[in-house]
Amino acid sequence: MYELSGVTKRYTRGKDTVNALDGIDLTIPDGDRLVIQGPTGGGKSTLLQMLGALDRPTAGRISLDGTDLASLSETRLTRVRSENIGFVFQSFNLIPTLTAQENVETALVPLGVKSKERRERAAEALASVGLGERLAHLPSEMSGGQQQRVAIARALVKRPKVLLADEPTGNLDESMRDEIMDVLERMWQELGLTYIMVTHDSSIARKAPRLATIRKGRITVKENAQA
């Protein structure tokens, strides 16, 4: 469970100071599905980076299962990311020289999983997203939707507690978007993980049970009874 209290992130740009996040208070229970929306530059991605232990707040507290991420050393933060958090990015962020299977394996490398087990688990993860036949394909040999499915397999192969998706359908056409959303929803339900997604897409936001909106660094959360 995430508990955020007074989380503030300030950036300095020249002489100006920008409040990307301005005293965010938020609780995200385990197994929750939260969609974060808001205008560009509102602080959505910054919040996601805080939740993903990629960055530290300027002030405030972010606790994951009782551990304050802001106070952890870089090494501990790296471990938190490798063990507990899966990322899906808008641009897929696959390693272009590695095959689909090898890309998925990269998530298991920091956990010290042996090579044989890595290969097996990566193949299973890819099969679970419908890419069992594409293990040896390079990203350049796959469509955008397939690449994003590889990215999802990479995020989930280590069985994380949290899945963070930053505009996962931003670079995809409509049919691909639905396909990816289906995969993500299925995985959330099957694995029981906490699923937090940033999106601009209102049609996706409407289906979320909880919708957070960030404007000028401030957050408002609404329950969506229709979802």
Binding site: T78, S91, N93, I95, E105, V109, P110
Partner: protein, 485 residues
């Protein structure tokens, strides 16, 4: 994963990898060629120096001739009686002079031997023989009516007329003789020659009337084993013909030391002491000890003598050691920098990739190792290419074997001067004129050079990897991902 990732990345960035490897290869090849050519220069110089005082000699001890003199004695004088013009009797006279240096007492050899760090010392005597032979006849006084009369010093009442005929027809022959200690065959100038006919001196022939002739002199004088050669009226049996390993021989004739001392009228004297040190690392300390403990001597090491080498060998050697070495260093530094900058720039292009890996939980160390690994492989590929290129370069130099001239000394022989006295080192028969030798340049590649090349390749990889790794390690995953949004 490390090797798979590394292999794929290098394959993807073949061109960049090739540029980095080629730059390093060029630098390493240059180092190999310069190093091997320098080594070849060293060998050529050793060969030149060896020809001067023989194998195994680390230094010589001499006493320089006084300024304005030609070594030991006075200028040679010859006196011949004029014979009748009818006489065809040939007259001959030899003058034997100590060559080049002042003599040292033979006991000095013992003193030198006693110095700490001296393994062996042996004395030798260098002589120059000037032989004038021919016919010297009086003129004949021709008087008015054509009556003859003997010429000669005129006097009062001498008949009127003119002196006709008379004169001299003579030949001047100069050659060098070296008195060698026959009990010490392993040290001294004769070691730079091989006995190609007959035999060498026996240890028992300390005062025997035997001689070893240099092959060039023997050919000129039609001497062979068993011939007899006369020096200052003493006949010596030629027991062997010696051929110099390279360049000129140390002397035309070699005699037992005692015989040479008798000929030169310098009993118990030597001109040069050849010294072998117990350890090549101690040459300088031995030199200092001798100079300190035996006053008035000049000690010349091979390093001192190398300074007197001039000519194309010296020029090439200077080029190899100065320009060549600096060029290699500059090229290497440039190659290292280019490799570093290219690697660093490659990291910049892979910010998102490394940011993603860090987001997945890869530590900075793991990412840095990956970058350094790639740079190391580039360095090693550069090393292999460089070694191959360097070996080809060294092979070409050896195959072409450019001929280099070495001029030794160059003193006039009648004045003191550089190390070892006039003309350079204290070798016999070489002090009076510059000596020019031709040596073929080779470029031997030693294992040390190869090891150096490998070391440089690794260093190049580490420098390049250091640049890139440092950048990669400083990447914060959030910044890396933010930059591509």
């Amino acid at each position: 994963m490390f090797f798979t990732y590394l292999r794929r990345e290098l394959r993807r960035r073949r061109k960049a990898a090739l540029v980095v490897a080629s730059g390093l290869a060029l630098g390493i090849a240059l180092v190999i060629v310069v190093d091997s050519v320098s080594s070849g220069m060293g060998k050529a110089q050793d060969k030149v120096l060896q020809s001067l005082y023989g194998l195994g000699t680390d230094m010589t001890v001499t006493k320089a001739a006084p300024a304005g003199g030609t070594g030991q004695g006075e200028r040679p004088r010859f006196q011949f009686d004029a014979k009748d013009s009818d006489s065809d009797e040939e007259q001959s006279s030899d003058r034997v002079m100590v060559q080049g240096f002042q003599t040292l007492a033979a006991s000095t050899v013992g003193k030198v031997s006693d110095q700490d760090g001296v393994a062996d010392a042996v004395g030798g005597l260098s002589l120059q023989v000037l032989k004038v032979s021919g016919e010297f006849t009086r003129g004949r006084l021709q008087q008015g009516g054509g009556e003859g009369g003997q010429g000669g010093p005129g006097g009062q009442g001498a008949p009127q007329g003119e002196v006709q005929g008379g004169g001299a027809s003579f030949d001047v022959n100069s050659y060098s003789v070296y008195g060698t200690d026959v009990t010490e065959p392993d040290l001294g100038p004769l070691t730079s020659s091989k006995i190609t006919s007959g035999r060498a001196f026996k240890a028992s022939e300390t005062d025997a009337k035997v001689a070893v002739a240099d092959s060039s002199y023997a050919k000129e004088k039609k001497l062979k084993t068993g011939s007899t050669v006369t020096v200052k009226g003493t006949k010596y049996k030629v027991i062997g013909i010696a051929t110099a390993d390279s360049g000129d021989a140390a002397a035309d004739l070699y005699l037992p030391l005692k015989q040479a001392q008798t000929l030169g009228d310098v009993k118990n004297k030597v001109t040069t002491i050849y010294v072998k040190a117990t350890d090549s690392q101690r040459i300088d300390s031995v030199k200092s000890a001798i100079q300190k403990n035996i006053s008035g001597t000049t000690v010349t090491t091979s390093a001192d003598l190398a300074d007197t080498v001039s000519g194309s060998l010296s020029t090439a050697s200077s080029l190899a050691t100065s320009v060549g070495r600096w060029l290699s260093v500059v090229v290497l530094i440039a190659a290292f920098l280019v490799a570093g900058l290219l690697t660093s720039s490659a990291v910049s292009r892979r910010v998102r990739e490394f940011g993603t890996l860090k987001a997945l939980g890869w530590t900075s160390g793991r990412v840095t190792r990956q970058v350094v690994g790639e740079a190391m492989v580039n360095g090693l590929v550069g090393g292999v290419l460089g070694i191959a290129l360097g070996l080809v370069g060294a092979y070409v130099v050896t195959a072409v074997s450019p001929s280099l001239q070495a001029q030794l000394g160059g003193g006039s022989g009648d004045s003191g001067g550089g190390p070892g006295g006039p003309g350079g080192m204290g070798g016999p028969g070489r002090q009076t004129a510059a000596k020019t030798l031709e040596v073929a340049l080779t470029a031997p590649v030693s294992l040390t050079t190869i090891a150096l090349a490998v070391l440089l390749a690794v260093a190049g990889g580490l420098v390049a990897g250091g640049f890139g790794g440092w950048r990669a390690s400083r990447l914060r995953p959030a910044d890396a991902l933010r930059r591509v949004e």
